[in-house]
Amino acid sequence: MNFDLTEERQMLQDTLRRFLRDRYDTETRNAILESEGGMSAEIWAELAELGIIGALFTEEQGGFGGKGFDLAVVFEELGRAGVVEPFLDTAVLAGGLIADLGNAAQQAHVEEIISGTLQLAFAHGEPNSRYDLNRVTTTAKVQDGGIILRGRKAVVVNAEAADMLVVSARESGDVADEAGISLFLVPATSGGLTVQGYALLAGGRAAEVTLDNVRLPEEARLGTAGEAFASIEARIAAANTALCAETLGAMETATRLTQEYLGTRKQFGRPIGSFQALAHRMADLLIELEQARSAVILAAGHLEDDTLACERHISAAKNLIGRVGRLVAEESIQMHGGIAMTQEYELAHIAKRIVMADHRFGDTDHHLERFIALAAA
């Protein structure tokens, strides 16, 4: 066993950490959060140039990483700095699905993604699907040599900015069947596609996407008809690895800020960290942070395993990160006191990121139940 990063990944981490430390402070992020699009095209382009997006794809796909530990390294740093740009959505989810399933013409988009010139969104969840990946009621019907999509997709992150959406739709089977689900590459300009956008509490934007008889050519399908589920599950596993690492990075920032504050904030004539009631709770957070780090390492290290082994570790990590995340966010705010309630203070955004990560790709409870079910499988 060896818990050190490879030289390449160490360099990636150093480069990204340095860039974000210099270019992505709280003031910058708060300005981005308040901007209309909720993201910075400039930061996106610069990070693409640094090779950050390329690190999220394998060599065969045209990148130079794409493994669990590459995702973990990149997203831990993005989380540490509280980056709100949609790397998860454009690259890991939608981009990953195109790279995994696309034909040669479709795969040509991967180059545009890596160079930072293409924005994407993955439109999969629906108003009544909650965290179930198999529940797809949006339909795809083959008609007159084309495909007609009908349905509604819920909380599609980055949908407004996306040049294309990867949309899941059912071609056969019952609403909750794994078989019968297909993926389609839908240009944002398609007729019948409505995107109603809104801000997200933890930064970035999402939208309700309505597909009202969206007409596509047959070539818009990604992969084989009705057989997309395994790829969706695998990509959500990668996204969960990234999200867990991102949350770990955010928790590192939260605990660092809290430690600093406990050391400098004085009440009753002494630093508040000298009160045992707070000092012991800070110690608990640091213990749990190490647990979180191990959970991320386990998820990243097993991402390329067979499905069962991989998914067990993903659910374990998402459950543990969800629990620890709530503790770290709430305790960091509480130990700070009022200052942590202000938008202006760095912890505000970081705490929201940590807690709201529990609302993507399955929450603490969902993954506990899934862990149990996978153990029985």
């Binding site: 179930d132 801000a199 009440q267 009753f268 009631a277 709430e330 705010i333 409870d365």
Partner: protein
């Protein structure tokens, strides 16, 4: 012991329910239900409706024009009001300043200020905390220096809730720097329109701007606005804080919150079934409900004892800790219940923007509320301070 309500109490509940049905405006209850801000006009309207009914100053003695309800009546009203999504009653004048004036103020002060609180003419806010004086409130630095018939006030207050609507502020100010911190503090009433006062909003992490910084630069305050004696303000402040905590358990809010959690979890689907039927989620809800049942009774026990002439001491600290833990747990459940629809966000700062939120299961801005209510365990004396009070009282010198 008798846990059943008397006939009079049941009749009272029926009256309250009828009143709420008839008089609570739908637009206000809709806003409360959806977690939207009421604005000054909304608060003023509800204040006037309660005043017309004589149900505004329920905690004031009859001699000051109060309804003088007992603990059970207040409990019943709180339950019914929360269930009907009635707005909270803004407490600064009614429940915080008024008891202090009634106990320590002059007759002239009571005759002048109390009717103005009832009529809504004055909107009060609280000038207690300062950037350097939070949990350690007695270290406050805002100074008032006597100059003939006036005090000249300089300094800064913070976390002033709804200060943007207020025309009056009651402040703790330092009038003597040469003595022990607690012995040099006075209680001063200040007109917010006085030159030298500046109110700056603080945007909170949920995007709302309900609290403010208030800056004082050479603010001239008439000496008759001093409450009680100079340098006795700490005693009055502590008296006010115990009053602030009489409703601190927030039983009504928790009951309404739990009802909302169940409503969301019935509409939200998980695995093709309503979330409320998921054993794991149902267990979480049940756990909080069990805690709330007991806490509601603890609250009644303690408040009834206080009404019978015994001041709630350490028990009010216990209620604050347990009450806020339960409320925050319910906020957490509401957030969980909403699933992916907890993610969207419309800033309260943008009027009417809530309507733009996708909300197929009528959850409302549950995640924003979850974050906003982290304040419950911080303000009014943090839960750490409350635990310290409990420990000190019960362990004495060992704590």
């Amino acid at each position: 012991m008798d846990l059943s309500y008397t006939e009079e109490e049941r009749a009272f509940r029926a009256d309250v329910r009828m009143f709420l049905q008839d008089k609570l405006p739908n637009d206000l209850s809709d806003k409360v239900r959806n977690g939207q801000e009421l604005g000054k006009e909304g608060h003023d309207r509800w204040h006037a409706i309660l005043n017309a009914q004589g149900w505004l100053a329920t905690n004031w003695p009859a001699e000051f024009g109060g309804a003088a309800w007992n603990a059970v009546q207040r409990h019943i009203f709180e339950e019914e009001a929360a269930a009907a999504y009635a707005p909270r009653i803004v407490p600064f004048g009614l429940s915080m300043l008024a008891p202090v004036l009634q106990k320590f103020g002059s007759k002239e002060q009571n005759d002048y200020w109390l009717p103005r609180i009832l009529s809504g003419e004055d909107w009060w806010c609280q000038g207690y905390s300062e950037p350097g004086a939070g949990s350690d409130l007695a270290s406050l630095k805002t100074a008032a220096v006597r100059d003939g018939d006036h005090y000249i006030v300089n300094g800064q207050k913070t976390w002033t809730t709804l200060g943007q609507h207020a025309n009056m502020i009651f402040c703790l100010v330092r009038t003597d720097k040469s003595v022990k911190q607690q012995e040099g503090i006075s209680f001063l009433l200040i007109d917010m329109d006085t030159p030298g006062i500046e109110v700056r909003p603080i945007v909170l992490l949920d995007g709302g701007a309900e609290v403010n910084e208030v800056w004082f630069t050479d603010v001239k305050v008439p000496a008759e606005n001093l409450v009680g004696e100079e340098n006795k303000g700490w005693t009055y402040a502590k008296y006010l804080l115990t009053h602030e905590r009489t409703n601190i358990a927030g039983v009504g809010f928790s009951q309404a919150g739990l009802t909302a959690v169940k409503r969301i979890a019935k509409a939200e689907m998980a695995g093709g079934r309503p979330l409320i039927e998921n054993p794991h989620f149902a267990a979480r809800v049940a756990q909080v409900e069990i805690d709330l049942m007991a806490m509601s009774t603890t609250n009644l026990r303690i408040v009834s004892k206080a009404a019978a002439g015994q001041a709630p001491g350490v028990e009010s600290s216990m209620l604050k800790v347990k009450g806020t833990i339960i409320r925050q747990e319910i906020n957490d459940l509401a957030r969980r219940a909403a699933g992916i629809y907890a993610m969207p966000f419309a800033s309260e700062a943008v009027e009417g923007s809530n309507m733009a939120l996708p909300n197929p299961h009528a959850a409302g801005p549950v995640a924003a509320q979850y974050f906003n209510n982290r304040k419950l365990s911080i303000f009014g004396g943090s839960n750490e301070i409350q635990r310290q009070i409990i420990a000190k009282t019960t362990l004495g010198g060992a704590a």
